[in-house]
């Protein structure tokens, strides 16, 4: 167990208490909101209610569940990214590489080796683990911005390989569709969309629990210490490198698992999930929701992918189409809206949605909140001197 002093200036994230192992009522009460959310999400497929245009159709319809399932997968992916970015302060631009590896490798394992979906998932995750060790070991030799660029380059290498379609494995620009006969019948077809939706929900729950466990473990404390002040961790006699490598591998393996579920949900692996823009959108998700906070990452990922999928439908509506060109064109581009929103959040709402809500709950009217946003220097967000 490392010196406890490392944690002197670590800002406690909400719910990040070190509790005594074993049953205690406070802990159960604290976990109540999470439990309620999971139960509500789990029973959605049985709720045949109208959504008034918020979703493509009724709540329990396959179309709506498919959209929500994607939102859940991206929430889990954003959470795995936040483990690196928000909890450890590693600005990686290569996270999409592992997500895409999960989708592509699982598909290739099924198509080429003829293994079942479950075996393919295991193979993909193990391959993702090895890839993460390799990429992490090289990238983490440099720090800060150089690290960001090296991971970006690795992701670009992956993108090139996928687009080149070596040996017909990846399907090039068209992507590769799921080998359906290797997938259990219960997860196939429009009728069974709810089952795949539950798989996505299970993924999010598992990722959430693992991230919670990891951040509360001994290495998890070191990760936060590295985020706050890496030099100090070194001075205290700990080498940050193995801890950074560990968090990189954990986050990447979780991303690989998300990729496998994505393949199952969408029915194909396509090059759009390995573009640099995709990694950038992960960053947008985490910061929108609030980085370094599990709820923030989950809400950010969920909201981003919801808007990304639904905004085109809103843009096609008569209300938008009847606007003059100067308004219609920008409003028809989801990424324009999301990019602008992101810039505004960084400028005016440091801490993202969740951080702002917490500050609001802690008291303060909107004007002082804004002023705080404009003048505040967030702890642990400046470059390490």
């Amino acid at each position: 167990m490392p010196d406890e002093n490392v944690l002197d200036d670590v800002t406690e994230t909400p719910g990040n208490h070190s509790t005594v192992a074993g049953f205690d009522r406070g802990r159960v009460l604290r976990a109540l909101p999470q439990l309620v959310v999971v139960v509500v999400l789990a029973v959605l497929p049985w709720c045949d209610i109208s959504t008034g245009g918020i979703l493509p159709a009724n709540l329990s319809s396959p179309g709506s569940l498919h959209l929500l399932g994607l939102c859940l997968v991206f929430a889990a992916l954003a959470l795995s990214y936040d483990l690196l970015f928000g909890f450890t302060g590693l600005l990686s631009f290569g996270h999409a590489l592992f997500f895409a590896a999960g989708a592509y490798l699982a598909e290739i394992a099924m198509a080429q080796f003829g293994v079942s979906l479950w075996a393919a998932a295991v193979i993909a995750v193990i391959a993702g683990l090895l890839l993460a060790v390799l990429v992490g070991a090289v990238s983490l030799r440099v720090g800060g911005i150089a690290f960001a660029m090296v991971t970006l380059a690795f992701a670009q290498a992956g993108s090139i390989i996928v687009n080149q379609d070596p040996g017909g494995l990846t399907g090039g620009e068209l992507g590769k569709s799921l080998t359906f006969d290797k997938v259990p019948d219960a997860l196939l077809g429009v009728v069974n969309t709810r089952h795949v939706y539950w798989v996505a929900l299970l993924l999010l729950v598992v990722v959430y629990l693992l991230v919670t466990f990891a951040t509360r473990s001994a290495p998890g404390r070191i990760w936060q210490a590295i985020r706050e002040n890496e030099r100090r961790v070194e001075v205290l006699g700990l080498s940050p490198y193995p801890f950074k490598l560990l968090v990189f591998v954990v986050g990447s393996v979780l991303a690989t698992a998300c990729g496998v579920v994505y393949l199952l949900l969408v029915g194909s692996a396509n090059p759009s999930i390995i573009t640099p823009d995709f990694t950038l959108s992960l960053l947008v998700m985490v910061v929108l929701g609030g980085s370094g906070n599990r709820w923030g990452a989950v809400i950010g990922g969920f909201l981003y992918s919801y808007l990304d999928q639904r905004l085109p439908a809103f843009a096609a509506s008569d209300a938008i189409q009847s606007l003059p060109t100067v308004l219609r064109v920008p409003l028809s581009q989801p990424l324009f809206i999301l990019g602008t929103l992101f810039v505004l959040v960084i400028l005016f709402l440091p801490g993202g949605i969740v951080g702002t809500l917490q500050r609001a709950r802690a008291g303060g009217d909107s004007r002082s909140l804004l002023r705080a946003a404009l003048t505040e220097r967030q702890p642990g967000r400046e470059e390490k001197q």
Binding site: R141, I145, A153, A157, Q164, V343
Partner: protein, 299 residues
């Protein structure tokens, strides 16, 4: 055989020239402000489209072959658009986030996404033919190799930009402030010099070089499309890192190496291998010299 080598070498240098035009600004901005500017690709695309618009409005209806005088105006329009957007970015987005360096990087990410989507919405996804004089589309024979003149144009402009930046940094007062700021920002501030003007200037300069690079990319490939920025930006990032952050000469050197390696490997091995070789080169350079070829260690 020999003619192929010459063709590949000149094309590689031309590609390196484009990389340098993007990388020089990136490197200067990072050296002075520690901001990794993801919006640099957006500056490039905006420059390219501004040049295209200028060409369209100046030329008689729909002609994509224009006179040299008009072409100069096209290049100037691209340069001005890049400089303007660069300066505005610094003043509106970067300056309010003073001392929040991670947020400064994030804000450029948001800007890159928004501008990319906007250009896509206005101009559409299809490539559009870029206006250029006829001579840029002709070829020159060198030792049996037929080389498109646009390659020479890119190389010539990049060399001019390199010389201009070097002169600016070495012989002007503002250049001196920028160099000192790259060396030690706190000290410059402590001496009572307002570094913020240098920040805006460096963004404008980098934007101008990127805008010019956008127009030349249009000439190089014959057309422009909204995806141009992100593709070039990645290789420009790699060039900046290999050359050493904040070193202009390093960027130039790395741009030449990367452009040549990419061309030769893509031709002699297989398509796509050159792109991978560049990534591999980056990994090797970083493992051997984490600060890059001519860079100083990043604090």
């Amino acid at each position: 055989m020999n003619s192929i080598v010459i063709l590949l070498a000149v094309t590689g240098l031309g590609l390196g020239a484009l990389y340098f035009l993007v990388a020089s600004g990136l490197s200067l901005i990072f050296g002075l402000m520690r901001v990794l500017n993801f919006a640099h690709g957006a500056f490039l695309v905006l420059g390219a489209y501004a040049g295209y618009q200028a060409g369209v409005h100046l030329a008689p209806s729909g002609a994509t072959t224009i006179s040299n005088g008009r072409f100069t105006l096209v290049l100037l329009a691209a340069l001005a658009a890049g400089a303007l957007v660069g300066a505005l970015t610094e003043i509106v987005l970067i300056r309010p986030l003073y001392r929040r360096e991670i947020d400064q990087v994030l804000v450029t990410v948001g800007l890159a996404l928004a501008v990319g989507a906007l250009v896509l919405g206005i101009a559409g996804a299809d490539p559009i033919r870029f206006p250029a004089p006829a001579w840029t589309r002709n070829v020159t024979n060198i030792a049996g190799a037929s080389i498109p003149n646009s390659r020479f144009l890119a190389i010539g402009v990049a060399v001019c930009v390199l010389v201009l930046i070097m002169v600016f940094l070495r012989y002007t007062r503002l250049g001196l402030i920028v160099r000192a700021g790259v060396e030690n920002r706190e000290m410059v501030t402590a001496l009572g010099i307002d570094v913020r003007r240098a920040f805006t200037l460096v963004f404008a300069l980098g934007g101008a070089a990127a805008g010019l690079g956008g127009a030349l990319t249009g000439v190089f490939y014959g057309s422009v499309d909204p995806g141009l920025g992100s593709e070039l930006l990645i290789f420009a990032f790699i060039v900046v890192i290999i050359g050493g952050l904040g070193s202009i000469v390093g960027s130039a050197l790395a741009a030449v190496i990367v452009g040549l390696l990419q061309q030769f490997a893509n031709y002699y091995a297989a398509d796509g291998v050159g792109d991978l070789a560049v990534v591999l080169l980056l990994a090797v350079v970083l493992l051997a010299r984490p600060a890059g070829l001519l860079g100083k260690a990043i604090p």
